[in-house]
C-alpha cells in the first residue's frame, strides 16, 4: 500500500509525521482510501440489487422489485446517516464506514436510472396512468421512508443515550453518549494504518490535520 504514496518513502516518512504542515495535503491523506470504500460498497450493493432484479419479470406492470429495493434503501440510508451524525463526528473510521455503507452499499443498492427507464418505457407503451402513478408514488414514498429512517435513528439514539445515562446514574443526557460506539467502525480501517507503515504514535494528530484537507463535498 505504501506504493500508493510515492512521496512518502520510508526514510522521509517518520520525520514528515513530526512536521505534517511541511507536506503537501495530497500526500498526507490519500484520496484513494475513501474511493476504495465507495468502490467496495458500491460493488456489494450493486450485486445485491442485481440478485433481486432477476425476480422481476420483464413484462411486469408495476416494477415491484425496483420499487421495494429503492424504498428499503431510502429508509436504511436515512437511518444510517442520521444515526452516524447523532453518535459522533464524521471523521476517521466513521467517515470511511459512512462512505462504504451509505455512499457505497446503499447508493449502489438503489437505482434511479432503472426506475426512470421503467417509467419511460410505460410512457412509450401509452400506459400513462401506470407511468405517472409509479413515478409519483416512488418519489413520495422515497421521501417518507427516508424521513422514517431519520426518525427511527433519532428514537434509537435517544433510547441508547437514556439507557447509558441510567446505567451510569447520570441525571441528564451525557454529552458524549455515543462514545461506546465510536471505536466500532475502526474495524473498517484506520487510514493511517492502511496507507503507510509509519509508526503509530503520530497518527492521532495526523488524522485531525489531514481530515481538514479532505474533499468538502465528500459524502
Amino acid at each position: 500500500m505504501s506504493s500508493l504514496l510515492p512521496s512518502q518513502s520510508p526514510s522521509t516518512g517518520p520525520s514528515s509525521f513530526e512536521s505534517p504542515s511541511s507536506m503537501p495535503p495530497a500526500s498526507r491523506h490519500s484520496p484513494i482510501i475513501p474511493a476504495l470504500c465507495v468502490f467496495a460498497g458500491g460493488a456489494l450493493g450493486t450485486a445485491i440489487r442485481a440478485g433481486f432484479s432477476f425476480l422481476q419479470p420483464a413484462s411486469v406492470t408495476w416494477p415491484y422489485v425496483t420499487f421495494v429495493v429503492n424504498l428499503c434503501g431510502a429508509f436504511i440510508l436515512g437511518f444510517l446517516l442520521e444515526y452516524l451524525s447523532l453518535t459522533g463526528k464524521d471523521e476517521g473510521g466513521r467517515k470511511l464506514f459512512r462512505l462504504f455503507a451509505g455512499t457505497g452499499i446503499m447508493g449502489g443498492f438503489t437505482t434511479y436510472g432503472t426506475f426512470i427507464l421503467e417509467v419511460d418505457s410505460r410512457f412509450q407503451a401509452h400506459k400513462i396512468g401506470i407511468a405517472v402513478a409509479y413515478a409519483i408514488v416512488s418519489v413520495v414514498c422515497g421521501l417518507v421512508l427516508a424521513g422514517l429512517g431519520v426518525m427511527t435513528a433519532n428514537a434509537v439514539a435517544n433510547h441508547s443515550a437514556n439507557k447509558y445515562a441510567r446505567a451510569h446514574h447520570l441525571p441528564e443526557l451525557p454529552e458524549d453518549f455515543g462514545t461506546p460506539d465510536l471505536d466500532a467502525p475502526d474495524a473498517f480501517g484506520d487510514p493511517g494504518h492502511l496507507e503507510t507503515s509509519a509508526p503509530a504514535p503520530a497518527s492521532n494528530s495526523e488524522h485531525k490535520k489531514s481530515d481538514e484537507h479532505e474533499k468538502g463535498g465528500a459524502r
Partner: protein, 127 residues
C-alpha cells in the same frame, strides 16, 4: 458469457459507477452556489440519459440477443445502476422538507424526476 463472470463484472462495474458518482457529486457540490445540493441531480440525470442511450443502442445495434442482454446487464444494471442513486436523492429531499424549505424540496425532487424522465427519453430515441 459465463453467468458467474457476468455477475462479477456487473458488481465491479457497479463499484466503478459508485466511485464515479462520489467524484461527480464532490466536484459539482464544490462549485454549487445554489442553496440545495445539485450533485445527485447531475448524477441521476446523466445516468438516465446514458441508460436510455444504452437501451436504445443495445436494442437496435447489438446482436445476438444473448450479447445484448449481457451488455445491458453489465453496463446498465451494473455501472449505471451503481452510478445512479435513489436513496441519496430521497434523503436529500427529506432534509429540505425537514429544514422547512418546501420549495427547494419540490424543486429538488420534482426537478430531478422530470429532467431524468426527459433525459432518458432523449437517450432512447436519438439512437
Amino acid at each position: 458469457m459465463n453467468s458467474t463472470i457476468a455477475f462479477l463484472l456487473l458488481s465491479l462495474c457497479g463499484g466503478l459507477g459508485a466511485v464515479c458518482r462520489f467524484e461527480v457529486d464532490s466536484v459539482v457540490n464544490k462549485h454549487n452556489r445554489l442553496k440545495f445540493p445539485l450533485g445527485t441531480i447531475v448524477v441521476n440525470v446523466t445516468a438516465c440519459f446514458l441508460l436510455g442511450l444504452l437501451t436504445g443502442i443495445v436494442a437496435t445495434h447489438v446482436s445476438p440477443a444473448a450479447t445484448a442482454a449481457a451488455v445491458k446487464l453489465i453496463l446498465g444494471t451494473g455501472f449505471l445502476g451503481g452510478y445512479s442513486t435513489f436513496s441519496t436523492a430521497s434523503v436529500e429531499g427529506f432534509r429540505q422538507l425537514q429544514m422547512g424549505h418546501y420549495g427547494y424540496a419540490l424543486l429538488h425532487t420534482g426537478g430531478m424526476l422530470v429532467l431524468s424522465l426527459i433525459a432518458g427519453l432523449i437517450g432512447v430515441t436519438i439512437v
